[in-house]
Symmetry: C2
Subunit: 280 residues, 2 copies
């Protein structure tokens, strides 16, 4: 379990790319529990419980918006997750191996594999814990309900909630130009969307306090409607009914950017107030 | 402090591109640059620039001392690094693929691969940047000298300093029994060792502020003498002459423990004061 055997990883990755049927079958059960089955790349056993993250939240807060990792590369590291795009051009959500871009105009676009991102966190989603929602709950109630399901507050969790929402409030941000403003200044002009009686999926993470600086402690959730026409970074919601699926993750792979924008930006030591303001 | 030498980065990047043909040879040399030759496992290209860490510093601060990862597994993920042992039994230092245990009795032991650790960070050390020390420097002066060598304050660095030390002050901690006390209480009774005119190697890391909670921001350094008879967690030193080698790392793999001790312990949200007291 504890061993990262990169030789095996590399070998399996190569085999997957070459389309070796037997390996795909083995991992398919775990990796493709979604509805789509569209994703060609399935995670290896090592990747299944790993959250792969590109860059750190402190960099995003300081205005490091230059895209570097491609969406194609993100898909190789997970079929589920969230992030943003080059120049902070909207909210990213990955579900069942498809990456969606919710732009500030409110529309949802499927992106090319060549599109780049300055910050994203993905994983191969595998349901470890599941429950259903039968009574209406607001966002605080559902947050507490999910936290009660977590076996430990010291692990990381991918959270998927599929259901009917009597209310959903999201936001998206517009593409920025250099010199990039800080995230807290960008979100002052964010586009806010409100929906009543919508159906869709919440995609995101619950992370422990110790990730502060690297990712968002607690919840970080994006939303997309079932018909893939609307969504964004979640600000508030009320759920009427649905299913909660939780993927418990005990490893985390962080890749740091190589671009000049990242390497030369001073990352603030204390971002808690900014994070609170930019994300909520 | 904020000085960034992009020319070095660019040069290294260009060298990598130009030397693409002999990448395998390069990494081979680099992975087995130790004197030991005992370590059969050498890092793959992916591992070379990755720091592999088991557990988080916040857990160690709260008294999560149950060993889980074996030293054998650590060696598969790096030939250089530091940490501690099951029950907090001394300071761990890995150099050239050999793991040493500096116990509170002041003696140094080579450990079995079956010994376990509750917290460790290792990498396959590859020298990216190098310089020599010709004039005597105290620990603050050398710290500043090394920081000037770093291409960016937003990456992670493994730091190796081999030389002659006119003064070296280290500490080690004694094995603990359950219920484990917090680290800050254990270090009140730490064993402190002082040496004059000793020769040896500093092994450790410089990490950015955003790792706070996961690892130690700034420097975390251990020491071992050339004859492998003494060492520990560094508290202070003065270096007369020596060589600085820096390994620039742009990826970080974090593995979280599965044991009950880790999963059930409340991890404090704000550890900065404790970290300062326990580590210095």
């Amino acid at each position: 379990m504890k061993k990262i055997n990169f030789y095996i990883l590399l070998f399996v990755a190569l085999l997957s790319v070459l389309g070796a049927g037997c390996i795909n079958e083995q991992t398919e059960d775990v990796a493709s529990n979604g509805e789509s089955g569209e994703n060609e790349v399935t995670g290896t056993e090592t990747q299944i419980d790993t959250i792969y993250q590109f860059s750190v939240i402190d960099a995003l807060l300081e205005g490091v918006y230059d895209g570097e990792i491609t969406c194609g590369e993100l898909k190789e590291n997970g079929d589920f997750g969230l992030g943003t795009f080059d120049n902070l051009d909207g909210e990213m959500l990955e579900l069942d191996g498809v990456i969606y871009q919710v732009k500030a105009d409110g529309n949802v676009y499927e992106v090319q594999d060549t599109e780049t991102s300055p910050f994203a966190a993905v994983t191969f989603f595998e349901t470890d814990i599941q429950d259903s929602i039968k009574t209406e709950m607001n966002s605080q109630e559902l947050a507490a309900f999910i936290e009660d399901m977590l076996p430990s507050q010291n692990l990381m969790y991918a959270v998927k909630v599929t259901g009917n929402f009597s209310y959903m409030k999201t936001r998206s941000v517009a593409a920025q130009e250099k010199p990039y403003p800080r995230l807290v200044d960008v979100t002052k002009d964010q586009s806010v969307f409100e929906f009543n009686d919508t159906e869709g999926t919440i995609v995101g993470y619950w992370m422990p306090e110790f990730v502060n600086g690297i990712n968002v402690p607690g919840y970080h959730l994006h939303f997309i409607t079932t018909d893939r026409t609307a969504g964004g970074h979640i600000l508030d919601y009320t759920i009427s009914s649905g299913t909660i699926e939780i993927d418990s993750c005990d490893s985390f792979y962080l890749e740091l950017p190589e671009n000049e924008n990242y390497q030369s930006t001073g990352l603030s030591a204390d971002n808690e107030a900014d994070l609170e303001e930019a994300e909520n």
